[in-house]
Amino acid sequence: MSQHFVSDKPFDPHSIENLTAAQERYYFASQWQLMWWKLKRHRLAIVSSIVLFFIYFGALFCGFLTPYNLHTRNIDFIYAPPQRIHFFNESEFVGPFVYGLEYQLNMENLKREYQSNTNDIQKLRFFCSGDKYKFWGLISTDKHFVCPAEGGQFFLLGTDRLGRDMYSRIFYGARISLTIGLVGIIVSFTLGIVIGGIAGYYGGIIDNVVQRMIEILRSFPELPLWMALSAVLPVTWSPLSVFFGITIILAMLDWTSLARAVRSKLLALREEDYCTAAQLMGAKPKRIIGKHLLPGFMSHLIASASLSIPGMILGETALSFLGLGLRPPITSWGVLLNEAQNINVVALYPWLMLPVIPVIIVILGFNFLGDGLRDAADPYK
């Protein structure tokens, strides 16, 4: 028997195929790193995420950024129209200012009419003291980014039927409207992963029952069901409980698509060798699902979850608009729009419909971001 030839030179696996630095970076990058690189190329998603970041930022610091408090009433200025910011008065630079409003009741049709008085120049103040508020409910302060002139007014987006500043109210409303989507998604995410995970891992009868349940829930028109469920919430509940009640109602119909995705992925993945290996080593189903199977497509799940946030925000807006969702004093964009329920509003006080603009922006933003995330999470693109 002849001897095998064994070279005694040191073994270098890279001698045949050398990775360039760029290749190396690519091949050794983590999954999240790859996702981020792909996402960066999706310009619309990046722009959306920046816009969303600013909106959330605005909601976080709403007390500071707004001239008035949520419930400050200016009883002399009911249904005042939006004031324009001017910089020049008679071609002379004065800096940002607004003209004072003069109120007049039209005796013919009893309409409140406001006129700008061009002699009354009210210079805006910046980093100034105004209404007192509690910053994040902790620190009592009266500092605002912008305030009206002493004794003046500044209604950038007009006022409502109680003379409350719409601009401030939209900022305060953002807090609720933006969190309801996030809290809702956490609930539906958990539900979807647990239910879908169990159905996909065990299969068989459990899977069948869950599948039928999902089909039935999906065949039900969402809004009537939401309406019915929120009509069930007792009137005596505190605003905070109502908030969580509504969130859970919104989440209750939303988990189905996520559960479906989890299930179909798990059905395929549980046949993989590494799953069998884990089973043989005595790992419990909870550990196998949570440690070995889920992380494989977590990025994908997060992407599809972000796509269902807009639905929840719209749902809350619709419910509150109908008077079935959140109730004042809790203020969300839907609650604000509840005031614009009437055709008269469109004709006479169209600025009451302005809260719809942030709604549209946020929903578009989440849609674009979700699209980008989904493309980025897809390894085959």
Binding site: R218, S219, L223, L322
Partner: protein, 332 residues
């Protein structure tokens, strides 16, 4: 084919059963019942309560019985065409809702046709002209339609229609035609009012459909048979029409399943804003006043509408796509 239809029909029974249980649980959830709050309200106004009638209703619908018995009374009644009693209107539910159901179905059907007519050409254009300006522009319009809350769009359209076309505000026909027999003028008036809800409800569904149709057609366009046909020198127009479009058509019909719930949801809220004589406004008041049988019948009816819609789409799909029709037989 016949066995497929029978199978699909049989599958509907458990679905409807579960839905009915779900609906019943929901309408039973609020504490107390309508009669209790009704009596309290009458008494607080100093009016007398017709004890006999209350007692009769309570017995007839078994309001004093345990939960599951009440459910069976309700469910079995429904099978006989007795949908219960509307306490608010003091009439059997069937008489209250009859016409409204018809109008809801009409609006939904017209909206779906509208959605198709708009979404189909746009979806094809977007897919065949991917990443062109037209594609971007139309996609953006679709996104705006998706993001705008229905109810606000309804208000604005209503206002504009009133200002520019002089359409009367609210309702589905001019006031003078209400409760009149159908006539040419009435039909015209209905058509004049119908386009607002149809467009408003259609916007969100259309956007979703365009996106799905585009994605689907794009997938098809990348397949090898398209490349083969192109390599053989087939004209682009004919190629798209002959192959991928037919595949996309399947999906188009299958999509009724996801379109219908959204159309009905949209129809409800739009109807409330526009005060259309459909199920929407009545469902809202019924829910608020705990008029449980009325609300329950509405919910049941809306669910049934979607289930039947999905059934129709499944059957249509089976009719045009042999793969689905034969699936069961091959498996055997």
């Amino acid at each position: 084919m016949l066995s497929y239809i029978v199978k699909r029909l049989l599958l509907m029974i458990p679905t409807l059963l579960v839905i009915s249980i779900l609906v019943f649980v929901i309408i039973q959830l609020p504490p107390g019942d309508y009669l209790e709050s009704h009596i309290a309200e009458l008494q607080s106004q100093g009016e007398s309560v017709d004890q006999d009638k209350i007692k009769f209703l309570r017995q007839e619908y078994g309001l004093d019985k345990p939960f599951h018995e009440q459910y069976f009374i309700w469910a079995i009644g429904m099978l006989h065409g007795d949908f219960g009693y509307s306490f608010e209107y003091d009439l059997p539910v069937r008489e209250v809702v009859g016409n409204r159901m018809f109008l809801t179905i009409m609006i939904s059907v017209v909206t779906i046709i509208f959605t198709w007519v708009i979404a189909f050409p746009i979806g094809i254009y977007s897919a065949t002209h991917q990443y062109s300006w037209g594609d971007y522009g139309l996609s953006f319009l679709g996104f705006i339609g998706l993001a705008t809350p229905n109810f606000l769009l309804a208000l604005v359209m209503l206002y504009l229609a009133n200002v520019y076309f002089g359409t009367s505000i609210g309702g589905l026909m001019a006031p003078q035609y209400i409760d009149q027999p159908w006539s040419w003028g009435k039909l015209q008036s209905v058509l004049e009012h119908l386009w607002i809800p149809v467009i408003v409800i259609g916007t969100s569904g259309t956007a979703g459909m365009i996106r799905r149709l585009r994605a689907n057609l794009l997938d098809e366009l990348q397949k090898q048979y398209v490349t083969t046909a192109r390599a053989k020198g087939m004209k682009e127009n004919k190629l798209v029409r002959k192959y991928p479009l037919r595949m996309a058509l399947n999906f188009f019909i299958a999509d009724i399943g996801s379109l219908l719930p959204s159309v009905i949801s949209g129809a409800e809220i739009t109807a409330i804003v526009l005060s259309l004589p459909t199920t929407g406004p009545m469902l809202l008041t019924a829910l608020q006043s705990q008029d449980m049988y009325l609300a329950g019948s509405f919910l049941m009816f809306l669910a049934m509408l979607t289930v039947i819609g999905v059934l129709v789409s499944d059957l249509l799909l089976a009719a045009i796509d042999p793969r689905i029709r034969l699936q069961g037989e091959i498996a055997k």
